[in-house]
Every structure is written in structure tokens, then in C-alpha cells.
């Protein structure tokens, strides 16, 4: 150590040179600094993209997010009409709300400066109050960083080659772990409940499954759906179309979860034990029900629970209506139906089989002997295809065909089959034919993506080797001159023409006639109701328009005592869950009529 440390004394003089450097101050507010790329500033919500599921509000640990209704936003199916509003006096910008946003509409921006002298200014409706912030998004929720689980737990199925060999059930069902994992994906927003015609308590029972309480789940399901096993297998599941997760990923498998819940109670006794239905004392009223389809069964079940004396008159040997005779057994096995019917009967529903109204019993008799009548006859008669040689042998409607097959009778479809139509019934007909070893082709007027059938069904059909020819308009059926049997079908290729305010319309291309050789033509272009059994005097009062009975909200027809539901009324789609909803609502109507 030297006596005088010259270097040490002079080194600090270097500080002076700082005097002549440019300061590195950011002269805010005259200069601005760019926020980092994923800075978590104020929120921005794309109001059009948002579906108001309220997941952000639920997750918020600080209770900072409210769901409010805005003036210019109306709710629709799949959109609650509510939008989040952030209380910036609570928010701590943890961005959990962004991470869980299933649609990715809620994001954080680079704006972080918000100064005010009024503490009530801190309520911010993102998107409405800062519409220009869209350009400054920073912390966004993409599919990789999102906390939502977008991928559905895959359902185990029989292999396509395996399943064409028999009518064994294609879908194998979820195991317990799979069901819990799938149920965990649900964000419990409840958007599905509105889409469901029956307004089932979907988030509640899925939550119950997720928490491991299968019994509770089953009870919640039976609260407003007495045919869950059927719904769990063949429901058209409009709920899944509006699932919040479906916006960016795959919807929660609501149908399969319901199926799982019903599988936890494999016998009638177990159902009864778990559901433990509370049957009220008989109230002295009796109700007659025409048709043991989903609508009739539902009405019967809830009426029976309420203490009514219920009798169902069914023309066929089996109850279930279209689910019994219209749905192939690989989708919905016979024992499942039987279980449901047995459960119904066990709580006091009386079903008279092989009793066709108008033939075995008159409608007048039912009408006069009961305090109320519920009509759930469904659509029995197929529409005609409307082309030449339609009446030849070898041409059959899908409904008849399925009915024959489901009645354990046989029908020879030959080697090659053409199916006309793109609905679920058409696919059913095609897949059933494939199980008889036939080479099946579906002819559909529009594109594949326009087909009204379930995408799962279409996929299933493709796996089973069924050929789909889209944009094909059948013009005539060719029959063998000698035997009169069908030998082929001629169709025109079509091109899609965009139409104002509607889906694209197929227009036939002249001269593009193609002939497809086949042994059987199955027509599946829709059904209509059969009202022949109804006496003329009722027909007038019931008000039947375009083949459908007109009813009010409570499914009451023009005749006070007569209620109607199912496919044959104007309400809803032609599917089972709508029929169940009709039955359920008719119970309310009957209750209102009789008990006041």
C-alpha cells in the first residue's frame, strides 16, 4: 500500500465525463417507452368474439370482474349476452382471466397508464370503453398458453372394419378416469343449458362427475330427463354446438358424460335406488298418452311422479317409438331401451302394447275416459323421393328399412346400395346396409359439410367404407325391364350457387348424367306424421298446419284437454331431446290445467 494512492485519487474524476454525455432519461411524457411484448396492461375484450361465458368472472381471485348486460348486445344461443366489466380498483393484472378465456376474446393490452381524480372511473368495460386498444394487444391467450383444455378425451370405438361385421355397439364408453378427465374440462358456464331444448342442468351434473359424485350426477340428470341412457347414446347434442370450448377447440363431450353417468347404474334396481324418485300420492286424475315415444314416455314419467294415473297406448310391440325402430342397434342397443321402459313401469306407468289408436281402441274412448290426453305420435310416413320408377321393388324408404331390421326381420339389399339424403336417417340406412356386406354409396344434393347428419356419424360411415357422393341430384331410377327390379340410379352433378340470405343452393349441371348401378335404393329425405287414426272432428280443432300440430308454450293444442309433443308438433327440431322437452313441458301444462 503506497502512501498516497494516486490512481485511487484520480479515478473518481472520471465521473466528470458524465457531464457531457447524453442522459439516458426517458423524458416521459414527452417521450414514450415501448412496453414489452407481453406486458400485462389494461384489458381489451373483443365484444363480437366474446360469448359471455363468465369464466373470467368466476376465476377472478379478487372478485374484480362483473358480468353485465350491454345495450347493443343481445343474447342468443351460445351467447349469454353478458360481457365482462373489470373493476380496476380490484384487478391486479394476474391475467388469469385471459388464460382461461375459452374464446380468446379477452386480452391484455400495452396500455398501462390510467390516471384519474375520480375513484368511480375505475370500472372499465373492456372493448366498449377502449375500442381502439385492439391494435395494442400484448398479453394474449393463444391455444398453447391457455389454461382451458381444448382437446377432448377421445372416445374408444370399435374399429371400422371390425364393426361392419355385426350390430355390436360401436361406442365403448368412457372409463372412470376418462370421464373425470373429460368432466374436468367443463368450465360450467351453462351456455349449453339454454341451447338444450330440455334445458338440462348440464354444468351441474358434469361438475358432479368431475368431483367424483356419480350418484348426484344421475339424480341431477333424472331431474328433467327420464331417458338419459337414450340421450347419452343418440342425442343430437345441440348443447355441444354452443359449448364455450367449441369456439376454439373441441366441445366438452356432454353426451358421452351423460352416457357415463347412466352406465354407473346398470340395472333398474340401481337406478331406482340412486335416483330414489319421490312418487306423490295419487291425485285422482288420469291421463292417456298416445304413442310411447320419447315425448310420451317423458310425459308419462313425470305425470306418474306427480301422482297421475297414466296409461300409454302404443301400436307396436315395443315401447320407444322412433328410438326403438328408427335407430340401429349398433348405436342404441335393445337392452338399453328395455331398461328404461322397465324403470318407467316400475314407478307406475302403464303401457298398452300393440294397441293402435283408431283400430284397437278409438280416440274418443281415450278422450272421454281421461282428464287429459297427450299425443306423441311422431313422424311415421316417409316423404316420397319424387323421381321416376320410385315404386319399383328394390326401392325402400330408410324408415321402413330400419323398422324391418330393428324388428329382427330381414331385408335383402343385394350387393350395391344407393342411399339418397344426407341426414342421420340416411347415414343409419347406409351403415346398416354396410353391416349386411353391401357396397354403399350416399348421394347427397349439397356438399359434405352441408350434411345435416352428425359429423361423428359421417366420419363413422366413412370409416366403415361407405362412399359419399356429394352434389348429386337423382333424376330417375333405372329398373330392369324384365324383372322390374332396380338396377341403377341416374343422377346429375350439381354446382353450388350462393343465394342471398340462405345457404348455397345446388343447381344441376346440364348433361352431366351419371349412372350408378345398384340393387337397392334407400330414400331418406324426411318423414311426415300420420293422422289417419284421428277422427275428423278433432282434426279441425287441433289445427294441423303443414303436417304438424300447432301447440302453445305448454304444448296445449286447440283442444283444451289435448296436449301434444314430439316430432309431430311445430316446436323444436325433429329429435329425441326436443320430444323429451315437449313431454316435460306438457306435464307442466297438464298440471296447470288440472291442478291449477
Amino acid at each position: 500500500m503506497s502512501f498516497i494512492d494516486l490512481k485511487g485519487m484520480l479515478q473518481p474524476l472520471g465521473a466528470v465525463k458524465q457531464l457531457f454525455k447524453k442522459p439516458h432519461t426517458i423524458q416521459y411524457p414527452y417521450e414514450t417507452n415501448k412496453a414489452s411484448d407481453n406486458y400485462r396492461g389494461l384489458h381489451f375484450n373483443d365484444l363480437d368474439q366474446c360469448i359471455g361465458c363468465g369464466n373470467c368472472s368466476t376465476i377472478c381471485q379478487n372478485d374484480a370482474i362483473d358480468m353485465i348486460s350491454l345495450d347493443n348486445i343481445d343474447g342468443k344461443k351460445g351467447d349469454s349476452g353478458l360481457r365482462p366489466r373489470i373493476d380496476n380498483g380490484r384487478c391486479c393484472w394476474c391475467a388469469l382471466c385471459v388464460d382461461v378465456c375459452p374464446t380468446g376474446s379477452l386480452n391484455l393490452t400495452k396500455d398501462y397508464i390510467f390516471v384519474t381524480d375520480n375513484p368511480n372511473d375505475f370500472l372499465l368495460t373492456p372493448g366498449l370503453d377502449n375500442p381502439d386498444a385492439k391494435d395494442r394487444l400484448s398479453y394474449t391467450c393463444d391455444m398453447n398458453t391457455s389454461l382451458s383444455l381444448y382437446d377432448r378425451v377421445p372416445m374408444r370405438e370399435l374399429d371400422g372394419k371390425e364393426r361392419v361385421k355385426s350390430f355390436a355397439e360401436v361406442v365403448l364408453g368412457y372409463s372412470e378416469e376418462e370421464a373425470r378427465a373429460e368432466a374436468d374440462r367443463c368450465i360450467s358456464c351453462g351456455l349449453c343449458t339454454e341451447a338444450c331444448p330440455e334445458n338440462m342442468h348440464i354444468p351441474e351434473y358434469i361438475n358432479a362427475i368431475a368431483r367424483g359424485n356419480d350418484d348426484d350426477a344421475l339424480r341431477i340428470i333424472y331431474d328433467n330427463n327420464p331417458l338419459p341412457e337414450m340421450c347419452g347414446k343418440v342425442c343430437t347434442r345441440v348443447c355441444e354446438d354452443v359449448c364455450a370450448l367449441q369456439v376454439r377447440g373441441e366441445a366438452v363431450a356432454i353426451r358421452w358424460l351423460k352416457r357415463y353417468a347412466t352406465e354407473t347404474a346398470p340395472t333398474v334396481e340401481m337406478i331406482k335406488e340412486i335416483v330414489d324418485p319421490k312418487i306423490e300420492e295419487p291425485n285422482g286424475f288420469s291421463v292417456g298418452i298416445v304413442g310411447a315415444g320419447p315425448a310420451g314416455l317423458t310425459a308419462a314419467y313425470y305425470l306418474a311422479l306427480k301422482g297421475y294415473d297414466v296409461t300409454i297406448y302404443e301400436a307396436q310391440a315395443h315401447a320407444g317409438g322412433m328410438i326403438m325402430y328408427g335407430i340401429p342397434k349398433y348405436r342404441f342397443p335393445l337392452e338399453s331401451i328395455d331398461k328404461q321402459i322397465q324403470y318407467m313401469e316400475s314407478i307406475g306407468v302403464k303401457i298398452k302394447y300393440n294397441t293402435k289408436v283408431g283400430k284397437d281402441i278409438t280416440f274418443d274412448e281415450i278422450y272421454t275416459n281421461n282428464d287429459a290426453v297427450f299425443v306423441g305420435i311422431g313422424l311415421q310416413n316417409p316423404w316420397n323421393i319424387g323421381i321416376k320408377n320410385e315404386d319399383s321393388p328394390g326401392v325402400i324408404s330408410a324408415i321402413e328399412y330400419l323398422k324391418i331390421i330393428n324388428s329382427d326381420e330381414t331385408y335383402d339389399v343385394g350387393k350395391k346400395v344407393a342411399v339418397i339424403g344426407g341426414g342421420n336417417v340416411a347415414i343409419d340406412g347406409a351403415r346398416v346396409s354396410a353391416r349386411f356386406g353391401a357396397d354403399v354409396t350416399i348421394l347427397y344434393r349439397r356438399r359434405v359439410e352441408d350434411m345435416p347428419a352428425d359429423w361423428e356419424e359421417i366420419e363413422g360411415a366413412e370409416h366403415e367404407g361407405i362412399n359419399i357422393v356429394p352434389q348429386a341430384i337423382p333424376t330417375r331410377i333405372i329398373k330392369d325391364e324384365k324383372t322390374g327390379k332396380v338396377i341403377g340410379i341416374e343422377y346429375l352433378k350439381a354446382k353450388m350457387v350462393a343465394e342471398d340470405g340462405g345457404r348455397p343452393r345446388p343447381v344441376a349441371i346440364e348433361g352431366s348424367e351419371t349412372i350408378y348401378e345398384c340393387d337397392t335404393v334407400i330414400g331418406a329425405i324426411g318423414q311426415q306424421a300420420d293422422f289417419d287414426w284421428l277422427p275428423e272432428n278433432y282434426k279441425e280443432d287441433l289445427i294441423i298446419e303443414r303436417g304438424k300440430i300447432q301447440v302453445n308454450d305448454l304444448r296445449q293444442t286447440g283442444v283444451t284437454k289435448i296436449f301434444a309433443g314430439g316430432d309431430s308438433v311445430k316446436y323444436g327440431n325433429s329429435d329425441a331431446i326436443s320430444a323429451i322437452a315437449d313431454g316435460f313441458n306438457a306435464v307442466k301444462g297438464i298440471d296447470k290445467l288440472l291442478l291449477k
Binding site: P29, Q61, N62, D87, F122
Partner: protein
Amino acid sequence: MENDKNSQKIVDYIGNFARKHSLFVLAYGTGCGAIEIPATMTSRYDAERFGIRGAATPRQADVLLITGYLSTKTLKRVIRVYEQMQEPKYVIGFGSCTVNGGMYYDSYNTINGLDQYIPVDVYINGCMPRPEAVISGFVKLQELIMAGKANNGEKYRENLEHYRSNQKKIIKNWKMPDYNW
């Protein structure tokens, strides 16, 4: 008379101008925001450009910074500090906690709305606000001072009853000296 008014205006203008450009800040480091004050003073953001400067005691301070949540126990000290400050005085609330409780909204010992207990001039949004936001808060305060709207001390004196009753609701055992202003 008119001449008098004008001269008063000029005096006010000069006074406000001086006040605006000379803000002695007492940072009452209550919460997370205490860490943002040194950052604001660093050469990167350089709050001293605006004449903002730390004051160590409430006697010298013009601005009281409440930098986050206040527990009921801290509130006592804040009220005392605030009352010791000399008029004209201003209060800046930092972050969510001073507005509506922030992430401590359901805590058993954290107050939710600061303006119930002492009047607040400017709130800065954030949790916590970045130094830029803090500076923008000061700029806002300067605007208010120049417009003559920052009359925090007056507000407190006039509504003393209201503030006192709110304060006593939280601080049950009131043993605080009364100051005469």
C-alpha cells in the same frame, strides 16, 4: 374591485405555478408500490425534472403518496402524517388497493377505499403502477394544481366530521391528538 380580482388571479397563478413545479413528496411506503418510488427517482425516469423531490418529514411535504394497501394499523399513522402536513397538500393513491381494496379486498385488516378516510387527489391505476404511470400521475396532479382544483386540505377541513366518523369506525380505540389547523 375588478383590479383587485385580477391581481389576486395573478398571485394565484404565480403561487400555483410555483406549487406545480415544486412538489415535495412524502412517500409513505405502505405496500408494494414503495418499490416504484426509487425507480421513479432514478436517472431512467428522473422525476426531479418536474421539481419532484423527496421530503423526509410531513412538515415539509406537499404530496403524500399512499403506495398500496393500508392496514387499519397503518391507517392511524397515515392519518397522523396527513394531518401534520401543511396546506396546500395533496394525496396520490397508488394502484388498485387504494381504490377498492385490490387483492386485499377481503382481508380482515386492510381498508378498501382510501378516500373514505382522507381525501385523495389523484389515483394511479396499476398493481403496481410503473414509473411512467407514476409520473403521469404527477403530471395530472400538476394540471389539477394549475387549474386550482387540488384543494385537498380544504376538503378535509370542511368534511372533517365525515372523515373522522369513518376513521373512528375503523380505529376503535381513538387516542389521536387533534390538530388545529
